[in-house]
Every structure is written in structure tokens, then in C-alpha cells.
Symmetry: C2
Subunit: 331 residues, 2 copies
């Protein structure tokens, strides 16, 4: 999953200003949830906590909860569980992708080993579901179980379709909804739901989150072609080298005059920097990067439209700015 590239701490801190003290409570509750006596478990937990993270999902959950009459005490454990689930998926994804670095530090699989990563992810998932069960609200357990289910299916789809030039744009949108969209959407839904918002308000915030998540992932996938490695924090062209075909590539396969050449480059399953430069030229000539950018903006507009439905939400202007920021960042 590419979601490590969400906005950097500095910029989000400003956007999260209105919930700063609430996020601090979430942070303390995350630490408390991982406090343990065990040697190795304690070491890995501390390592993950020190690595930080932008806590964007808890932040969205809290921002989506700012309806009159909400009770913060009900929201904090759910926000913690959402972040623990996110951490678990990152730790497992680093095994899946054989990643070496996350947030500028060696991944758990590098610092310890794949076995430690697998078990740490399980440990984090279990902790999250324990917290969710303790809320006594079965809806939140079911929502989060289903989202983990969809995320693992999305990642399996990504493995199954590596280098597969037969996949469609619809496949792409289904895949990114699963791997990125649903967790953000459900974070927003849970905030509104636990705050006691109406079904229409809850649905609007779910749709907002889904649109933001999809828009973010399209933008993130674009950076794989247009970003500078040192700013993105991962090698440019990495997706394509791994066989992950993103929206610009699928667009060019369907619409470029050089589609056959693109097909051959991908089918060879060994993409070096020279091949990558050729692909980039094909994408530019076919307007595929511009097309993907326009689709990201389309989803951004959808996110805005959903916010129009919740005038009662104190934080909706902040949510609008977050959506814009997430999609338009250049790193």
C-alpha cells in the first residue's frame, strides 16, 4: 500500500489544529494499548510508536464526528483501533512488498525479520478488535472486520493482476477502493456514526472518505511517474517495476497509438530505467497522465459535494481543505 505518502506532519498539523488536543489523547491511548512487559513485543511496539505516523485516519474520524452532542470518550478507542489496524496493514504490506524503509527507518522486516512482522501485524489487528469489542457497539466491530477483509482481498488482487495488461479501469478502481479507499471511508463513517449523526449524515461522510481515498490513491499512483524520488520517499517507477498497473498505464493501453509497444514492455516483466523512460513518453503522448489527474479531480469534486450535505458539521471546511491538500500535494 502506498499510503505512507500521505501529507507530511508539518502540513497536517496545521490542518489538524482544531483537534490537536483530541489527537494527543489518541496518541496516548495508542501508547497505552501497546504497553506490555514482554521483551520482543515491547521492543517492536516502541519502535513502531517512535516511527510516528500522521494519524490521518484518527484525525479524519475525529473531524467527521464533530456533530452536536458527541461524546469524545466513545470516539477515542475507535480512533485508536483504526490506527492500529492501519499500522497492522503497513507492517504486513512491508512483508508483502519486501520493503526496506518506511518513514525513513528500516521496516520491521528489515530490523527484525519477516516472522516478527507477520506476528506483530496479527498482534496489532487483535489489539484493535479487542478495543472495538470493548466499546460494546457491534456495528463498529463488523465495519472494521469487513474493511480488513476487503483490504486483504484488494492486496491479493494486486498480486494476482501483476503485469496483467488485460485488466480494466474498473478493476483498477475496485482495487484501490479496497486497498486505500474503504479504510479512509470507514474512518469517516465511524466518526459520524459513533457521534450519533443521522443515517444521511453518516452516509455522506462515508462517501466523502471514499472519494478522498480514491482521489488520494490516483494522485499517489501518478507520483510514481511524475514525482522526484527524494521527495516521494520511494523509488520512482517502483509500481510499474513491480507489475502494478495504475490508471495512466491502463489508459494508455486502451487509448495510445503505441499501446502494442507498451503491452510488450510490460509483458517482458523486467522494466529498467530506459524502459521506464519510454513508458513515460508514451503516457505523456497519450494524455494519460492528464487523464488520471482529471479523474483524481473528479473524485475530489465528489468529496466536496458530499460535504455540502452536512452543514451541521463544525469541521467541514477543514475536511474540504484536507481533501484538497491530500490530492494536490506534489511529493
Amino acid at each position: 500500500m502506498n499510503s505512507q505518502a500521505l501529507p507530511s506532519r508539518g502540513s497536517t498539523l496545521e490542518l489538524f489544529g482544531e483537534i490537536e488536543s483530541e489527537l494527543q489523547q489518541v496518541e496516548e491511548a495508542i501508547e497505552a494499548s501497546l504497553a506490555t512487559q514482554d521483551g520482543l513485543v515491547g521492543e517492536v511496539s516502541t519502535y513502531l510508536l517512535r516511527a510516528g505516523g500522521k494519524r490521518i485516519r484518527p484525525a479524519l474520524l475525529l473531524l467527521a464526528s464533530r456533530f452536536p452532542g458527541r461524546r469524545l470518550g466513545d470516539l477515542i478507542p475507535v480512533a485508536v483501533a483504526v490506527e492500529l489496524i492501519h499500522m497492522a496493514t503497513l507492517v504486513h504490506d512491508d512483508v508483502v512488498d519486501d520493503s526496506q524503509l518506511r518513514r525513513g527507518r528500516p521496516t520491521v522486516n528489515v530490523r527484525w525479520s519477516n516472522p516478527v512482522s507477520v506476528l506483530t501485524g496479527d498482534y496489532l489487528f487483535a489489539r484493535a478488535f479487542s478495543l472495538l469489542a470493548q466499546t460494546g457497539d457491534n456495528r463498529v466491530v463488523r465495519i472494521m472486520a469487513d474493511v480488513v477483509f476487503e483490504m486483504s482481498r484488494g492486496e491479493l488482487m494486486q498480486i494476482a493482476t501483476a503485469f496483467d495488461t488485460g485488466q480494466t479501469e474498473a478493476d483498477y478502481f475496485e482495487r484501490i477502493a479496497r486497498k486505500t479507499g474503504y479504510l479512509i471511508a470507514e474512518s469517516c463513517r465511524l466518526g459520524a456514526l459513533v457521534a450519533g449523526a443521522s443515517p444521511e449524515q453518516v452516509q455522506a461522510l462515508y462517501e466523502y472518505g471514499l472519494a478522498v481515498g480514491i482521489s488520494f490513491q490516483i494522485a499517489d499512483d501518478l507520483l510514481d511517474f511524475t514525482g522526484a524520488a527524494e521527495r516521494v520517499g520511494k523509488p520512482v517507477g517502483g509500481d510499474l517495476k513491480q507489475g502494478i498497473l495504475t490508471l495512466p498505464v491502463l489508459h494508455a493501453l486502451a487509448h495510445s497509438g503505441r499501446a502494442a509497444e507498451l503491452h510488450r514492455v510490460i509483458a517482458a516483466r523486467s522494466i529498467d530505467d530506459e524502459a521506464l523512460a519510454r513508458v513515460r513518453t508514451i503516457l505523456e503522448e497519450a494524455g494519460s497522465l492528464q487523464y488520471a489527474r482529471s479523474r483524481a479531480e473528479e473524485y475530489l469534486a465528489r468529496a466536496y459535494a458530499q460535504l455540502e450535505k452536512v452543514p451541521e458539521l463544525a469541521s467541514r471546511h477543514t475536511l474540504k481543505r484536507i481533501a484538497e491538500f491530500v490530492v494536490n500535494r506534489q511529493f
Copy 2:
């Protein structure tokens, strides 16, 4: 985890006779829970289902539920979830242990890859928690989340203490309770709990399951020294070669006149067949195998004692025979 070596299908079928039709319903519900359209997800699910399994945890759950007035419809989804969680831990453990074979077939990590195993395990965990949440009974969600938490901690402890001759018998018992005992204990607890048994009855069945699980794991660990490879279905001495120090070894380290020699063999971290034979002699001379056997029997007696507390349970004689069978098998 070594739990693949639980009693073979032929013998358990006879012991499970009184719940045969119920287990058939569990089997169908497991299949239904994994039915999916996705290519790769579908393939892996079918592969796992065809590999079978003895469904001993669902069987214990059902046997522990046979109090008057139980509703089978409430029990089936919980029994399915317990088995899905067990399957998830096996798939992840095969990555952790780099296992090649399970139930005589290539493991998922061998047939596909480690990434597919990691995600399939997550998928199975998520499916299980979704089913548990659907019961509307938060107690079952919390119990199972906590047991997954303890199992992952137990496996991490096992990694952390590999080749560590400083660990105690108490560490060993804590570790095997986590990696094997709690899931069996909670399966029994959930059967009684969902059937509406009294707190005392529920507790007795939990204690029964915990004693059976610990007794089983001691016996299974003994087979690593005394079993024949072709009957046990895994290489003899495998635990020690991996650095997993089991009860006989810890006993000998504390009580053998040749403890220093044993310590040196283990500290060398490279145990060949000649070293293994030497270790076995040390264990025999120190009475360590006999000691471990007596501890297994002690836990077996504890399991029996718990069953005395539930005379109302129709299946308690079957539970007694299962406990005996599990601990006294020679393969």
C-alpha cells in the same frame, strides 16, 4: 505451532460421532464463508478447504455446548469463526516457520508465496471477526480478539527465546498456554457460554480446554524426541534444531549432571543429528522425558477433574475420551 499433529481423522471421527451432523453443518458454513468470486482468493480458499483438517476446535466447542436448551443456530457461526482463526494462524505460522508441508500438501507459502500467505491469513482473521460481530454478542468478539492477541504474543515469545537456555519452566508453560492452550480453552468456553451454561460451568469447560491444550502441547513436544518421523509427519528433533526449548530440555538444563554440556550444545546454535542423539541420551539419563510425560498426565488429570464439575453436560464422557486420546497418542 505444532497443532497440525492433533489426532488423525479416522480416530477423531469415531469420537465425534455424536456431533457428526453438527460438524457437517460447520463444514458447509466454513465453505459458505469462503465462497467468493475472486480468482486468486477463490483458488487459495479452495486449496485450504480441500486440505481438510480435523476441525477439533469446532468439535470441542460443540461438545462443550451440550447443555439443555442450547440453540445450534447460535453455535455454528462461532464454531466456524474459531476454525477460520485456527486456519489463519496455521497459514501465518507456516510463513513464520518457513514450513514446506502441511497435512501432506505443499503449504500456501510454497504453492504460492509468503505475500499470499500473509494476506490470506489476514483475510481469514477478518472473515472470522465479521462472523463473530454478526452474532451480536460482544463477549465472543472480545474473547477471540484476546486469544489472537495472546497467540501472536506466544509466537513472538518463541522467536525471542530461541536457543535461550536462561528460560524457565514457568516461561515454557506461559508460552504453550498462549500458542496452543488458550484457543482450545476458549473454544470450550464459547460452546458453554453461547449455550447459556452457568458461569461455573463455563469456567469449568474453559479450565478443561486449557488443561487439554497444555497437556497436548507437552505430549506433542515429547514426540519431537520420541516419535518416528514418518508417523509424526515432521522431522524428529525439529524443535530443538530451530532453537525451541521444550519441557524435557528445560528440565535437563536444571537437573542433569550433564547440564553444562547440554548448554554448550544449544548455545552452538547448530544442532546436527549427532548432537541430537547426544541430547536425547542426556534427557533419558536425567529422567527428563519421563518428567515431561508426568506433567502431561498431571494436566490430563486436571482436565478430568473439571469435567466432574459439569454432570449436566451430555457429552462429558466424550470430552474425557478426547482428552485421553489427544495426550496418549504415539504419533
